[in-house]
């Protein structure tokens, strides 16, 4: 084949979030973005993108230039909706500061680690019936169940209602193959949680929902008060949405990467002390949320170009995580890596509030999987990637267990 018939090698590098062919393996494109277009501009959908670790590390922290106030997804920023108060992921300081502090207080590392035994029991409940099976599905058997179960535990939502909650959130993020997603505000306003909240008001417990009902905080106007019902519903909806699909993707990538790297899987099975480092390496290599977007509030100069105020900037976290300037042999999966932390959970005031929870879930899930199924090989023929432009991972990931 001559180089002329191989367009990807000679054409200017192209990336958009909707192309299934790019989504199948985006890493060669990310590499070219880092090398050939560290400031990328996409004409078709009119957005800019940064892919180098140093740029992302620096710019995500610059919330004055890169605002979250219109949302953190390309389509949402374009839709220019009014963001309700309490939607902390789509707020800038000072409003964000007070709201985020309330949530940060209940999602601390120690509190999340305290859930470990409960999470372990939940994994056992999902996996024990499969012992002896020749095939398991990382998504259908665990990824679809565990994250919703854990959020349900936190919020005190009864088990039988959890699947319905997950389905609704997943559906709101799904896109038609190759197209931008439809945006509607209703999916972010806490629909579906009202009845649990009202029930919880009458039946207080020691869960997060009760804590949110009782917490006193100083809002951005300096008033000390409790959260309103509307604010609590928004918080809960954000947490349930953000904690569900992403963690399911993490479980899927755990299955995929440790199928592709059986020698490393055997090392972990023989020495579970390697699990935390393995989860960090999985998070680095395959971030469930490969990019985030911000609204550009003022002209921004980089690489002799100007990104005009009013633009959308995308931050390719998945590209930064493999930047050779930061990570030696960045494309290589290596659980023994002695290196700096990845940016999968973002950087700065909007970094993932649930990162400690995601890590506990990932570690316990891997531990409980290996105890029951020390060997597996993914059946790629029968696996499929999810059609979503906001997360990247598997909808189904079956594997042979021997």
């Amino acid at each position: 084949m001559s180089t002329n018939t191989h367009p990807s090698a000679t054409d200017p590098v192209y990336w958009d979030p909707y192309r299934p062919d790019i989504n199948a393996d985006p890493y060669p494109v990310y590499k070219r973005l880092r090398e050939e277009a560290p400031l990328y501009y996409n004409k078709e959908y009119d957005f800019y993108g940064l892919s180098r670790f140093s740029d992302i590390d620096r710019c995500l922290g610059d919330v004055k230039t890169f605002s979250s106030a219109k949302g953190d997804i390309l389509e949402l920023i374009r839709a220019d909706m009014e963001v309700p108060n309490g939607m902390f992921i789509w707020e800038d300081p000072p409003r964000h500061t007070a709201n985020r502090a309330v949530v940060s207080r209940v999602f601390t590392p120690k509190r999340m680690n305290a859930l470990e035994e409960q999470i372990r029991d939940y994994c056992a409940m999902c996996l024990d019936p499969l012992i002896g099976a020749e095939r398991i599905d990382f998504i259908k058997d665990l990824g679809d169940k565990l994250p919703g179960g854990v959020i349900g535990m936190l919020l005190g939502i009864p088990d039988e209602a959890r699947d319905a909650v997950r389905e609704r959130v997943d559906a709101s993020l799904r896109t038609e193959l190759g197209k931008p997603m439809e945006v509607s505000q209703s999916s972010y306003q806490g629909e579906g949680f009202e009845e649990y909240l009202d029930w919880r008001i009458k039946n207080p417990s020691d869960d997060l929902m009760t804590e949110l009902l009782n917490v006193e905080f100083q809002d951005h106007l300096g008033v000390t008060r409790k959260l309103t019902r509307e604010e609590i519903l928004i918080f809960i909806n954000v947490l349930a949405g953000a904690g569900n699909e992403t963690t399911s993707r993490l479980i899927g990538w755990t299955g995929k990467l440790l199928s592709d790297n059986p020698e490393q899987r055997r090392q972990i099975a023989a020495n579970p002390a390697l699990i935390p480092a393995a989860i960090e390496e999985i998070l680095r290599c395959e971030p469930p949320g490969p990019s985030v977007a911000r609204y550009v509030t003022q002209d921004f100069h980089i690489y002799d170009q100007t990104v005009p105020a009013g633009s959308v900037m995308m931050f390719f976290l998945a590209a930064a995580n493999r930047d050779e300037e930061r990570f030696t042999h960045g494309e290589r999966f290596d659980i023994h890596r002695q290196g700096p932390p990845h940016v999968t959970f973002g950087r700065g005031i909007h970094s993932c509030v649930g990162s400690a929870l995601a890590r506990v879930e990932g570690r316990v899930a891997l531990d409980e999987l290996l105890k029951r199924f020390p060997d597996w090989t993914v059946d790629l023929e029968k696996s499929s990637l999810t059609p979503s432009s906001t997360t990247r991972g598997w909808d189904t990931l079956p594997a042979f267990t021997r």
Binding site: S104, R105, K110, P341, R347, I349, S351, A356
Partner: protein
């Protein structure tokens, strides 16, 4: 420059010469000291830059804010000399500071 000695939980020492004004968290992250994550970038939110300040230095570092105090109750393996290193800003007065890193942040 301000010398800071970071001691990993396995005993490995990193002696770094850092600029005044930098935070102890930033100094670690920029120089690949393992064991400090600093995901929120210094906003005192994520509690992933937890360190133990050497007792000889504990009273010399800046005071603890109410927000930091609340988060310190919920770090992994907290001790009386625990601090969030993003809240410790380096000055000449801290030349020679010793901080020990916990076995885990999360």
């Amino acid at each position: 420059m301000v010398k800071v000695i970071y001691v990993e939980s396995n005993g490995t020492e990193h002696a770094l010469d850092l600029s005044p004004g930098l935070s102890v968290m930033r100094g670690a992250v920029e120089n690949n000291v393992r064991g400090i994550l600093g995901e929120c970038g210094g906003a005192c939110q994520c509690a992933t830059c937890h360190v133990y300040v050497d007792p000889a230095w504990f009273d010399k570092v800046s005071d603890i804010s109410a927000i930091e105090e609340a988060l310190l109750e919920d770090v992994c393996d907290g001790q009386p000399n625990s601090r969030l290193s993003c809240q410790i800003r380096l000055s000449e007065a801290l030349d020679g500071l010793v901080v020990r890193l916990p076995a885990r942040q999360v």
